[in-house]
């Protein structure tokens, strides 16, 4: 444990994120807290972002970034679980180990990974299961994220399946465990390991070393992370160190306690009465977020405004994004981008409108997936104690002057 190093580092006083205050009444889900102030501190390779913690680093992307399909690396959100992230990784000696129920254990260097396997790319949304948690009332446990604990990038790497093929799976192989390099302060603390069942994996699952044409940023899991298109980010293990194949499920904190929702049809419960059984959050639901305008935007009367934002789901694809500029009374289809980055990517949308009334105007967006799932109104989102999977219709209220 390199605890002392944290204290040796120069202290930087920062405008930390203030305690969230939401005006909605108890028991009602509302809009997440919107566009909190960006911190004065820039983290390595990042522009200043909304900051909740330095150790582990927790950084949120501001709303106005979400106007295009890809999220820039230096504005991409950051979420770690443990205090001790290796501060130095030598790409020349870095090796990923594959072991357990395999015919042949593998120790693959970064260079071998880049040269001895087929190189593939997938564009996919990475979203924290607790994204928008601040929408839940009463306040759900966990960091009170706004809607920027997410991003979309083109990930380049090697198919997990190709690596497992080379190792050769034992006939009893059923579970794959992924171990990250982050360390706790105490040896007894459980490591950050995720397990996935073999049947959940397909050719879109890759080990990625590149993000939007650059090496993975340090805080996004350099030099290698798991990319699991369609799934919430808790499964996208960063700084991968080890992959272990087993025949039975191992009980793990980050699988069995954290990142779970009530195991019922609506995945909901009441603050007074928790549902007795839970299930992992796994796949993302359909959602859209407005990138422009924001509540800070100045919108002129009778000007040509183009509302922009992004929409996504777990890979079924986005059918339509509906926009309302009259507080939800009437809805019209937005224009979608060409979708050529694939079904796991954001669909950027745009909607031109001319504000003809002065004063407050509320813009709302509702995404509908290709299987007909659509976003509910924020007030119809049902509560769960972890504040996971919020996907209410997004709202931005601007002043037309």
């Amino acid at each position: 444990m390199q605890r002392r190093e944290f204290f040796k580092k120069a202290a930087v006083t920062a405008g930390a994120v203030a305690l969230g205050t939401n005006t909605v009444e108890a028991g009602v889900t509302g809009q997440p807290i919107d566009n909190r102030k960006v911190s004065e501190v820039a983290f390595p390779e990042k522009r200043p972002l909304i900051m909740y913690s330095d150790r582990p680093p927790l950084l949120e992307t501001p709303r106005d970034v979400f106007t295009s399909t890809l999220t820039p690396n230096d504005q991409f959100f950051v979420r770690w679980h443990m205090p001790d992230i290796p501060t130095h990784i030598d790409p020349d000696t870095y090796t990923i180990h594959i072991n357990g129920l395999v015919d042949k254990e593998l120790h693959i260097s970064l260079n071998d990974l880049k040269t001895k396997f087929e190189q593939v790319e997938v564009t996919a949304v990475l979203q924290c299961g607790g994204n928008s948690r601040s929408a839940f009332q009463p306040i759900a446990g966990g960091i009170q994220w706004g809607s920027g604990a997410m991003g979309c990038a083109t990930w380049k790497g090697v198919r997990l399946g190709d690596i497992l093929d080379q190792a050769g799976l034992d006939k009893d192989a059923r579970w794959i465990g992924f171990n990250g390099s982050e360390k706790a302060a105490y040896y007894e603390t459980p490591e950050f390991i995720r397990e996935l069942e073999l049947t959940e994996l397909d050719d879109n699952v890759i080990l990625a070393y590149e993000m939007n044409g650059e090496d993975l940023p340090y805080l996004n899991g350099y030099p290698l992370r798991l990319v699991l298109p369609g799934y919430y980010s808790d499964s996208w293990v960063k700084m991968l160190s080890n992959i272990t194949v087993t025949n039975e499920y191992k009980k793990l904190f980050f699988m069995d306690v954290a990142y779970r929702v009530p195991d019922n049809e609506t995945e909901s419960e009441t603050p007074e009465k928790r549902y007795p059984t839970t299930k992992p959050i796994k796949k993302m639901n359909v959602k859209s977020v407005i990138g422009y305008p924001t509540k800070e935007s100045i919108v002129s009367h009778k000007s040509h405004v183009v509302v922009r934002g992004v929409a996504w789901d777990d890979g079924h694809g986005i059918q339509d994004v509906m926009v309302s500029v009259d507080g939800g009374k009437t809805w019209e289809k937005a224009l979608l981008d060409d979708g050529k980055l694939g079904r796991y990517a954001y669909r950027a949308f745009r909607y031109p409108f001319k504000p003809t009334t002065f004063g407050k105007t509320t813009i709302m967006t509702k995404a509908i997936s290709k299987i007909g799932e659509e976003q509910p109104l924020a007030k119809d989102i049902k509560w769960n104690h972890g504040g996971y999977k919020y996907n209410g219709i997004d709202e931005v209220t601007v002043e037309v002057i």
Partner: protein, 102 residues
């Protein structure tokens, strides 16, 4: 010729060799309220996470804060005795509580 040199340079440098040297994550001094039990917070919480991780949970009930502290002991193996659990819970509820016991 100029073009040749440029492409040679591009070839020679890695895409973005960001972790060739030690990365420094900034240390941030989060504002935190002083009061009874603060010593226990400093001793027991700061080992693993910043004060920001605490204050950004939002205002919560006594039951919530007690549950969080117990989670740190049970799941994350924080070495805390009953007294420390009590002191940290009381502090958290007093300064970051919502006034509700449950």
């Amino acid at each position: 010729m100029k073009k040749l040199i440029l492409s040679a340079l591009l070839l020679a440098s890695p895409l973005f060799a960001q972790v060739k040297e030690k990365v420094e994550v900034p240390y941030v001094a989060f504002p935190i309220k002083m009061g009874k039990g603060f010593d226990a917070i400093q001793t027991n919480c700061l080992m693993c996470h910043s004060f920001g991780y605490i204050t950004n949970q939002g205002r919560q009930s006594k039951k919530f804060w007690h549950g969080k502290v117990v989670k740190m002991v049970d799941h994350f193996k924080a070495p805390m005795d009953e007294k420390a659990i009590q002191e940290t819970t009381d502090y958290l509820f007093e300064h970051y509580g919502n006034g509700k016991l449950k």
